[in-house]
């Protein structure tokens, strides 16, 4: 490996990714011994021209570094940005980029650790705690997009199963489906974001959400506690009978409402394409 090239790449990346800007990056590179012997200023590394100093030329890359990744985060977490406001989001993004330098080859994965990074720094800040819930769902909307698009089972395949066989039936859920139990009512907030009429930040209150993607597109639907319990058991591989039993015996479950709603729920979920197979166990 050419040592001179290695050294150049190392000092340049240090300078253009320094959160304090190019001059601070130069000082850091100098104190860390990254610069070629005899370097006393940026001009020794990058010749100034008749329009831009060495620092201004390097700044084009320094600006692009934070701007490009912040843009990616903005695209992946639009509700988080609306919740926090562009200034606070921008400053959080800058901290994230600095504390978690990208190790992935693709910009598409740069934002993956953003949720867990937010969770580490949230403390008891109520806004950040809401932001974490939003970021989990927005992350999921991105992840299901890349899951294999699968052919769903038709509702008719479910209709022919008599209730006395439900304990011997397994409904196989698609890979592009994620379920969430959250501390905040994110659905109303995110709907407001989509409509463009944000109406304040709601108080903490448990909520349940399903995120999925089919050939028709990607979706986020609110769930009740019982619906979430049912779908979670199915995702874990329970039979239909076991899933209903588990949901009905969950603490706080509204059993009569659940039993009344079951038929409609499964019709809706099947028509949405959440199941890829019906398996009869014998």
């Amino acid at each position: 490996m050419p040592e001179g090239l290695r050294a150049l790449e190392t000092w340049m990346l240090r300078i253009v990714t320094h959160p304090g800007g190019v001059d601070a990056g130069f000082e850091a590179a100098q104190s860390e011994g990254l610069l070629p012997a005899g370097t006393s200023s940026l001009d020794d590394l990058v010749p100034p021209n008749d329009r831009l100093s060495a620092g201004e030329q390097l700044h084009v890359y320094a600006f692009a570094y934070f701007d490009r990744i912040t843009d990616v985060l903005r695209g992946e977490y639009p509700s988080v940005e609306l919740l926090l406001g562009p200034a606070r989001f921008g400053s959080l993004a800058r901290d994230f980029i600095t504390e978690q330098p990208s190790r992935t080859y693709t910009l598409n994965r740069v934002g993956v650790p953003f949720s867990s990074w937010l969770a580490e720094r949230a403390g008891d800040d109520p806004l950040l705690s809401f932001a974490i819930d939003l970021s989990l769902v927005e992350r999921a909307l991105d992840e299901v997009w890349d899951c294999k698009a699968e052919a769903p089972v038709a509702y008719e395949a479910l209709q022919v199963i008599p209730p006395d066989r439900w304990d011997r039936v397994r409904l196989d859920t698609i890979d592009a489906l994620q379920l969430f139990e959250l501390r905040h009512p994110i659905s109303a907030f995110m709907n407001g974001v989509m409509r463009g009429d944000l109406d304040g930040v709601p108080e903490p209150e448990p909520s349940w959400v399903c995120v999925y993607c089919t050939l028709a597109g990607r979706y986020r639907i609110p769930l009740s506690f019982e619906q979430h319990a049912l779908l979670s058991s199915l995702v874990d591989g329970a039979t239909l009978g076991e899933a209903i039993e588990a949901a009905a015996t969950s603490e706080g479950a509204d059993v009569p409402a659940m039993l009344a709603g079951l038929g409609g729920w499964f019709r809706d979920w099947t028509e949405r394409g959440l199941f890829r197979a019906v398996e009869l166990l014998d």
Binding site: T10, T17, Y105, W145
Partner: protein
């Protein structure tokens, strides 16, 4: 189709980049463009809708893969996991050709997600040539390497960019993607004459042109891909098409992506330059 390059790669005509907001239009309307280019990394890790759309598009159009993450100039080891997935996608889609940029994107496993300039030295030339040869052997096809837009030069440069790129192409026996806008931007930024640059291009290695809009900040230009191609770049393109006898041409538009019709109209602006060639040949 004209085959005037030494690789026997065809002149595909005029194409555009395949971008998510245009998926539906492209699949349903099969618009009148000759071919599509994809950003390789946007399709390497997905089995979802992007892959379904790409497979559908490929049935109707030639597809070229253009990457941003090979980091050919980096002194980090080659990322074989990345290269294997790149090859798998190229084979799966049966691409017309594939390539990346003359640049490095990170070092020490820290990815800056930018196209950083390589210092144009003998040592970097040997390094890059060896890496291109290794990758070409692995892929079983020539790489098509693009000249970058650059915003600085290095004190350690030993030769002009186009001399370095010409030698790289010769020594590695690779193909070139001549981005005419990048020639314009780079020459503006470094006070060079774009025609003098173009005079030195090894034309028998050029298999593709890029055209794009840039942002002119007065003191320097930035390759933003967010606007119409400017008149000066069209003029250079006309000269390039005359010189090559016609090579596959692509409009790059990424920022502020317009509606399909505007994008297609921009692509169609390239056709008169190519029709002049056909008239000349007739």
């Amino acid at each position: 189709m004209d085959v005037s390059n030494r690789f026997g790669l065809p002149d595909l005509g005029v194409g555009v980049g395949l971008r998510v907001p245009h998926f539906q239009h492209v699949v349903e309307r099969k618009p009148a463009v000759d071919w599509f280019e994809i950003i390789s990394e946007n399709f390497m890790d997905t089995e979802g809708r992007p892959m379904r759309v790409l497979e559908q598009v490929r049935r109707d159009y030639p597809v070229v893969m253009h990457g941003v993450a090979m980091s050919i100039g980096s002194t980090d080891p080659l990322d074989w996991d990345y290269l294997k997935r790149l090859k798998a996608l190229a084979d799966r889609i049966d691409v017309a050709w594939m390539g990346d940029h003359v640049c490095w994107t990170g070092v020490g496993s820290h990815n800056g997600h930018d196209l950083y300039p390589v210092p144009y030295t003998e040592a970097s030339l040997r390094h890059v040539v060896e890496r291109i040869k290794t990758i070409q052997d692995f892929l079983g096809r020539p790489l098509v390497m693009e000249n970058p837009s650059t915003y600085l030069t290095f004190s350690s440069d030993e030769m002009p960019e186009i001399e370095w790129i010409g030698r790289m192409a010769e020594d590695a026996d690779c193909a070139l993607l001549l981005d005419v806008n990048n020639v314009y931007v780079t020459c503006r930024n470094h006070g060079l004459d774009p025609m003098a640059y173009l005079e030195q291009v090894p034309w028998d290695r050029v298999v593709q042109n890029h055209l794009a809009g840039h942002t002119d900040n007065g003191t320097h230009c930035v390759d933003t891909h967010d606007d119409h191609v400017c008149d000066a770049v069209w003029a250079l393109y006309g000269w390039v098409q005359q010189r090559t006898g016609g090579v596959a041409t692509l409009i790059e538009w990424d920022g502020d992506l317009p509606e399909w019709d505007l994008l297609q109209a921009e692509a169609d602006k390239a056709r008169p330059y190519r029709e002049q060639l056909e008239a000349r040949d007739a």
